[in-house]
């Protein structure tokens, strides 16, 4: 009789999506970083005229964004956009771009 393992498998399958709903979204940093890539290029590789973010050290990007946010770094619009992200979101974004391959 193989009914028992089958029920166990079914219960596991049922439990999996519920557990996933509790866990932090593994793609959150990627999704946040994608809000930058219209202007800074897919995966942070710019087509020119804006800074490539791919491969930029995490601390450097966090610092830049916090300076934009506080207004100490002059900008045309980045000081306005930086204020829309929480410090935690900025950290996630910077970590994700730091892990991308820098353009040659």
């Amino acid at each position: 009789m193989r009914l028992f393992p089958a029920i166990a498998a079914a219960l596991l399958a049922l439990a999996a999506p519920a557990a996933a709903a509790q866990a932090p979204d593994a793609n959150l940093a990627r999704n946040l970083a994608a809000t930058c890539t219209n202007c800074h290029g897919t995966n942070g590789v710019s087509q020119g005229g804006t800074e490539s973010l791919a491969g930029m050290p995490k601390d450097a990007l966090v610092q830049k964004m916090l300076e934009f946010k506080s207004g100490t770094r002059p900008a045309t619009l980045m000081h306005q956009l930086a204020k829309g992200y929480s410090d935690e979101q900025i950290t996630l974004i910077a970590g994700w771009f730091a892990a991308q391959k820098a353009p040659r």
């Binding site: 793609n27 219209n38 087509q47 045309t76 306005q80 204020k83 829309g84």
Partner: protein, 437 residues
């Protein structure tokens, strides 16, 4: 028609739950392949209708973020993408149409998107099939509609027939009309009047008409200095970047641009190029350019997702899935926008990324990202090289179940500048690549 029980549930998960629960009785049933579990990774068929800023981005990002495991078919009738943003430079004459034109080749070659050059004629949401004008049928697990806008010709008496539309242009979809409007301006004698009718908001690209006025004035100032630009706005004031545009008209284009508020178009006489209004006097122009009222593209109606004022499509901003029809997502200008969200190309690209992440998650048996973030950056060219911007950030508000601009963030240029002009061109280069390359 399949209707969703509530906006907060995720239909795919619900269906899988039922499939699995029903299979509990026998091992054989459990061994049947269940679509898209988290352990097997994403899989399924996605059909995207419309290859503009929304649809092309969605197609590319679903392929990228599913590591090529989700099958994506893009239905687009045009051979190439022609950008509406920056198209006013073609009207003004400082650029030509090739500047705005980007091919679709990279989507299949680099990302494995299947492109079908056809028009989606109908959607059967029960059978989950898109029917093509050319006769084919495309089955889908998830459908993404990015149909852009259709014009509501019935709202402009006198402009319903093809002859009138050939004489009084909209040029509000970039392409042949953009070039044709340019030709009309070139043919106009110096001392003539170019009149631009703007519909009551909401419409595609809120600052677009005012940018167009600047570009036509830029041309007149150099080539036809006795000519006038007359803005006939259906709204009570300039709907975007008002102070910046007014300053440009006063400083750069003094004596050329005249702005008239509260001019809701009541009809046109195509033969004499006359715009009629209920209260105000008729306006006869040498070039009459009418931007008609708009609504979601017709395919949205076929899918049954037009839910707001019989014009726009309400979506759940965590996935851009229709609030009424399961497995159908809507992007771009066709949606009923959240508070403070413009109908812009940049925003459509951002819709597409939230949607792509959600579709990949849902086809992996995962819930969508519960906290979506979207940005908007919109440049308007005031001369051939000077620009102004408006930008905003929109974050999910769990209480109001929508995305809202973050208080204290976003903003406008302090003044027009050539530096912002270089950023505007960089914006175009980058977003065209992000969408299509």
């Amino acid at each position: 028609m399949k209707r969703r029980d509530s906006a907060s549930s995720t239909p795919t998960r619900r269906r899988q739950f039922l499939t699995m629960a029903a299979g509990c009785g026998t091992a054989a049933a459990i061994a049947l392949p269940v679509r898209a579990t988290s352990r097997s990774g994403p899989s399924g068929k996605v059909v995207v209708v419309g290859g503009g800023y929304g649809g092309a981005t969605a197609a590319k990002y679903i392929r990228m973020w599913s590591d090529g495991r989700i099958d994506v078919t893009l239905v687009e009738p045009n051979a190439a993408f022609v950008s509406c943003p920056m198209s006013n430079l073609v009207v003004g004459g400082s650029r030509d149409l090739s500047f705005l034109t980007v091919g679709y080749d990279n989507l299949p070659q680099r990302h494995g998107v299947r492109i079908i050059r056809d028009t989606a004629a109908a959607v059967d949401v029960d059978e989950r099939i898109v029917r093509l004008a050319g006769g084919g049928e495309l089955p889908y697990d998830r459908l993404i509609l990015s149909p852009g806008i259709d014009f509501m010709w019935d709202q402009v008496p006198g402009l319903a027939n093809a002859d009138a539309q050939a004489r009084i242009l909209h040029a509000w979809k970039a392409g042949p009309q953009t070039v044709a409007l340019r030709r009309q301006l070139e043919a106009m004698p110096d001392g003539g009047v170019y009149a631009l009718s703007i519909p009551v908001a909401p419409f595609r690209c809120p600052p677009g008409p005012y940018e167009r006025a600047c570009q036509v004035a830029w041309y007149f100032k150099r080539a036809k200095p006795k000519s006038k630009v007359l803005i006939l706005d259906g709204n009570g004031d300039v709907t975007s970047k008002a102070a910046l545009f007014r300053k440009a008209w006063a400083d750069e284009y003094k004596g050329i641009v005249e702005y008239r508020a509260d001019h809701v178009l009541a009809g046109v006489d195509a033969a004499t190029r006359t715009a009629r209004f209920d209260v105000h006097d008729d306006v006869r122009a040498d070039v009459l350019n009418v931007v008609p009222p708009q609504r979601a593209g017709a395919i949205a109606r076929s899918a049954g997702v037009v839910t707001a004022n019989d014009r726009w499509c309400d979506v759940d901003f965590r996935s851009f899935e229709s609030v009424t029809v399961e497995n159908v997502h809507v992007l771009g200008d066709a949606i009923q926008v959240a508070p403070g969200m413009p109908k812009s190309g940049h925003m459509a690209n951002q819709h597409a990324k939230v949607c792509a992440a959600a579709v990949v998650a849902l086809l992996s048996g995962q819930p969508p990202n519960p906290t979506p973030v979207l940005t908007n950056t919109c440049y308007s060219m005031v001369t051939d090289r000077d620009s102004i911007h408006v930008c905003s950030i929109h974050q999910w508000d769990a209480d109001r179940k929508t995305v809202l601009p973050v208080p204290g963030s976003g903003g406008l240029s302090t003044a027009m500048s050539e530096l912002e002009g270089t950023y505007a061109f960089a914006w175009a280069r980058n977003i065209w690549a992000d969408t299509l390359a």
